[in-house]
């Protein structure tokens, strides 16, 4: 018997869940686009209106994902928390390094505020995606 035969029932794999992973990934995509926009204008100041719009849209998507996550009943919260905290540690370090580079390059004022909030969303969205993807297949008990 191969491991392919060694499967749990299909409904356990295909358990319908809200599109939390998609929302968090879309949020990540928007802050990546915002980051490209800001970086492509450096050392000049990028048009902050569009960057702010991307930031707000990314925040709304991530908050929606978190709200949907909070409403889940049958979910492996233990696995989610374990993966989330370690991934958060890793991506806070990464975001901190990017923030350090921007500060070192004399990014100041509104641009720095937008970069900082984008990095906060980056550091929260990636652990959310990883932890959700892992926990959705984990045993809720």
């Amino acid at each position: 018997m191969s491991a392919h035969d060694a499967t749990a029932p299909a409904h356990e794999v295909d358990r319908p869940l809200p599109p939390i992973g998609y929302l968090a990934t879309a949020s990540l995509g928007l802050v990546v686009v915002g980051g490209i926009l800001l970086a492509s204008y450096a050392p000049r100041v990028a048009p902050l209106g569009f960057a702010t719009g991307l930031l707000i849209a990314a925040a709304i998507l991530l908050l929606t994902a978190r709200a949907l996550l909070g409403r889940l009943k049958e979910f492996a919260w233990g696995a989610f928390a374990t993966v989330f905290k370690w991934a958060l540690l890793a991506y806070v370090i990464t975001a901190g390094m990017i923030e350090f580079a921007f500060v070192h390059d004399h990014t100041r004022g509104s641009s720095l505020v937008i970069v900082t909030f984008m990095l906060v969303i980056f550091a929260l969205s990636v652990p959310t995606i990883i932890a959700f993807t892992t926990a959705r297949y984990a045993d809720p008990r």
Partner: protein, 203 residues
């Protein structure tokens, strides 16, 4: 990786759980190396250390591109044709290493790459390299979204699944397919990175 586990042929949903060593999802031996890399990058940026910036960017970028190309275009297609147990056995040893290597080389490359571009004047709109640089930002942005949003979560989920007393072979197969396809996409995008970077370097 002696702590790797294997999805054995004898496992079935009706079989009793097999007593196996657990996979270490994040290999602890790698963390001091990651810490040193982070410190090296931070010092290179902080002190505008030209050699340090160039070293981190070239070494990190070379490894990132090379690993993505090799995994996406060589390992991935081979993996896609292996039996599920063979895939699982390979993944149990391979993926924990990728969990620690890839974020480190990406961080080394990107953090110092921006500084190298700034110090060489390539960020200036008047620079002839500016347009190529923006294209490279876009390529990296797409790769980052695919890697962080799809590939890495699938890797971690596979490793978690393999740590269960009775791993779900169907689920591992599905997640591994995601790994095979996304690593192929990343490999192809790295070809674009090679063209852009060699173009930038030869001007």
């Amino acid at each position: 990786m002696s702590e790797a586990t294997i999805v054995g042929r004898s496992e079935s949903s009706h079989a009793p759980p097999i007593d196996r060593p657990k996979i270490q999802v994040v290999p602890l031996w790698g963390l001091p190396v990651v810490g040193l890399a982070v410190l090296f990058v931070a010092l290179s940026i902080g002190f505008n250390w030209r050699w340090g910036l160039m070293f981190n960017h070239v070494v990190g970028g070379g490894l990132w591109t090379g690993i993505d190309l090799f995994v996406g275009l060589v390992i991935g297609p081979i993996l896609g044709r292996l039996s599920i147990p063979a895939r699982a056995e390979f993944s149990a040893r391979f993926m924990p290493k990728m969990v620690i290597i890839m974020p480190t080389v990406v961080m080394m490359t990107l953090a110092t790459g921006f500084q190298v571009a700034r110090s060489q004047g390539n960020l200036l709109a008047s620079s002839p390299n500016h347009a190529w640089l923006i294209v490279s930002f876009c390529v990296v942005g797409i790769m980052a979204t695919v890697a962080l949003g799809i590939l890495e979560p699938a890797n971690i989920a596979v490793l978690y699944e393999m740590n269960k007393p009775i791993p779900n072979g169907q689920l591992i197969h599905r997640l591994m397919q995601r790994f095979v396809y996304t690593s192929g996409i990343l490999g192809i995008m790295q070809v674009a990175t090679l063209i852009i970077m060699t173009r930038l370097g030869s001007r």
